[in-house]
């Protein structure tokens, strides 16, 4: 039976009627039209569905929409502000870190959570933070470079 739930996504509040079994990834994509979050494996193995809940990267394909109430959800669509790319998005673009793009939203969010917690991570820490996000196209080299560059740029700006 459907229930009324309230979700706060990218700073906006939504009221929705959903069944308890609906997954957050499906509600974001199908009910809210936020198709930036991707589905690729059903069982939480690839990280493509990664969103931030209260700043923490989680798998939206293994989160019930009903469980995400009362929390701040950030999807890839919420990264850019006022038409300006987030430094990580800018870095991904500048360093050739995007090929087919399917893993990109999840990567960006995992990377954002890392830099928010640890603004100057080592290469090993970046690899660890992104170890739950699979990419088949890039071989990860430029993704890691992009995260390093974004961290460096933020440091220089401070």
């Amino acid at each position: 039976m459907k229930q009324l739930i309230k979700l706060r996504v990218n700073g906006e509040s939504y009221e929705l009627q959903v069944e308890p079994k609906r997954l957050l990834v499906d509600v974001l994509r199908d009910n809210l039209g936020l198709t930036g979050t991707k589905k690729a494996c059903e069982f939480g193995n690839c990280g493509s569905c990664t969103v931030l809940i209260n700043g923490t990267p989680v798998l939206s394909c293994l989160t019930l929409a009903i469980e995400a109430q009362g929390k701040d959800i950030l999807t890839v669509e919420g990264l850019a502000r006022n038409g300006q790319l987030h430094p990580l998005q800018q870095a991904f673009v500048e360093h050739g870190a995007i090929q087919c793009g399917f893993c990109t939203p999840g990567m960006l969010l995992s990377a954002k959570a890392l830099l928010d917690e640890n603004p100057q991570p080592t290469k090993a820490e970046i690899k660890e933070a992104l170890s739950g996000n699979l990419c088949r196209c890039t071989g990860y080299a430029k993704i890691i470079k992009a995260v390093e560059a974004a961290a460096q740029k933020t440091k220089e700006e401070k």
């Binding site: 308890p20 939480g44 989680v58 989160t63 170890s131 739950g132």
Partner: protein, 294 residues
């Protein structure tokens, strides 16, 4: 009926949100047999998507505030609430300092996202053969507090696992706390593993060691915990006997490692798992010995 294993899907359920432990136990008791407690959900939802279980009620315990904590005192040891996330345990300064092998093990589980969502209680109650947190808890001789409507009981962890995915937890019971005594002085431990295929992958063989030295070269006590090499996580007690009270030296350590390998009962990739048990037990003992000699 057709076998639709290639089309994972959730069947419908009611989602209940108790606010206290008592309320949770009451709901689990009321809907006994048709309800599952859900914490992080990473293991539970996967089982449900695969249609291995189809509970009619999910009792969400995430909102219960008094279940997420990490407390330590020299006297009482470490007390971890069942809802403490794997990440919080992996990064807790006190656990890294005094119970390092537990932090290492929890940091191994899954991926960063899974560690953010997954709880220690969930990891223990899933009771799969390859749960990384268990070997450390075995060698640390953890006790589990189980609460139901009528009573509370404390069960030593080595009595908790009955069979793969089967524990001593009653359907109307809730695991609320993990209690770990402070190890004796001159103790140290470690957790070593190899994975099935890639680096960020399920554990193929996991070895936890907790060793207490009498002197720099005499082993007062040693505990060896293994996962993924038997139907349930286990202690390699015969191997422990080889070293307990004895003078440490490489031949004896190798012998203990070999005995540990012989105690295992792996199903798939059995030869390799046995071999790796021997290699990892040897390496882990040496790592701990090295740490203690500094």
């Amino acid at each position: 009926m057709a076998d639709l294993d290639y089309l994972p899907a959730l069947s419908s359920f009611d989602y209940l949100i108790p606010k206290t432990i008592k309320e949770a136990c009451s709901l689990l008791s009321k809907h006994k047999g048709k309800a599952e407690a859900i914490a992080g959900g990473t293991d539970l939802l996967v089982s449900m998507l695969k249609r291995q279980i189809s509970p009619k009620y999910l009792v969400s315990i995430k909102a219960i505030p008094e279940l997420d904590y990490i407390h330590y005192s020299q006297k009482d040891g470490l007390k971890i609430g069942a809802l403490a996330t794997l990440k919080s345990i992996a990064t807790s300064p006190i656990i890294k300092d005094k119970f390092g092998l537990l932090a290492t093990s929890c940091n191994k589980i899954g991926t960063p996202q899974v560690r953010n969502m997954g709880t220690i209680g969930g990891n223990i109650c899933k009771a799969g053969p390859s749960q990384d947190s268990i070997p450390a808890l075995l060698v640390l001789e953890a006790k589990l507090k189980l609460v139901s409507l009528k009573k509370e009981r404390v069960v030593p962890i080595d009595k908790f696992f009955i069979a793969p995915f089967q524990t001593a937890l009653d359907k109307a019971e809730l695991l609320t706390e993990i209690q770990i005594p402070t190890p004796p002085p001159r103790s140290s431990g470690c957790y070593q593993w190899i994975t099935k295929i890639t680096e960020a992958d399920e554990t193929l063989v996991g070895v936890a060691i907790l060793m207490t030295l009498e002197t720099d070269s005499i082993c007062k006590d040693i505990k060896i915990g293994l996962c993924s090499v038997a139907p349930t996580p286990m202690r390699a007690r015969k191997a422990e006997e080889v070293l307990r009270g004895k003078k440490l030296e490489s031949k004896l350590i190798e012998q203990a490692a070999q005995v540990a390998a012989e105690e295992t009962k792996p199903r798939s990739r059995a030869d390799y798992r046995r071999q790796m048990t021997s290699v990892l037990v040897k390496r882990a003992i040496n790592e701990v010995w090295q740490k203690l000699r500094r």
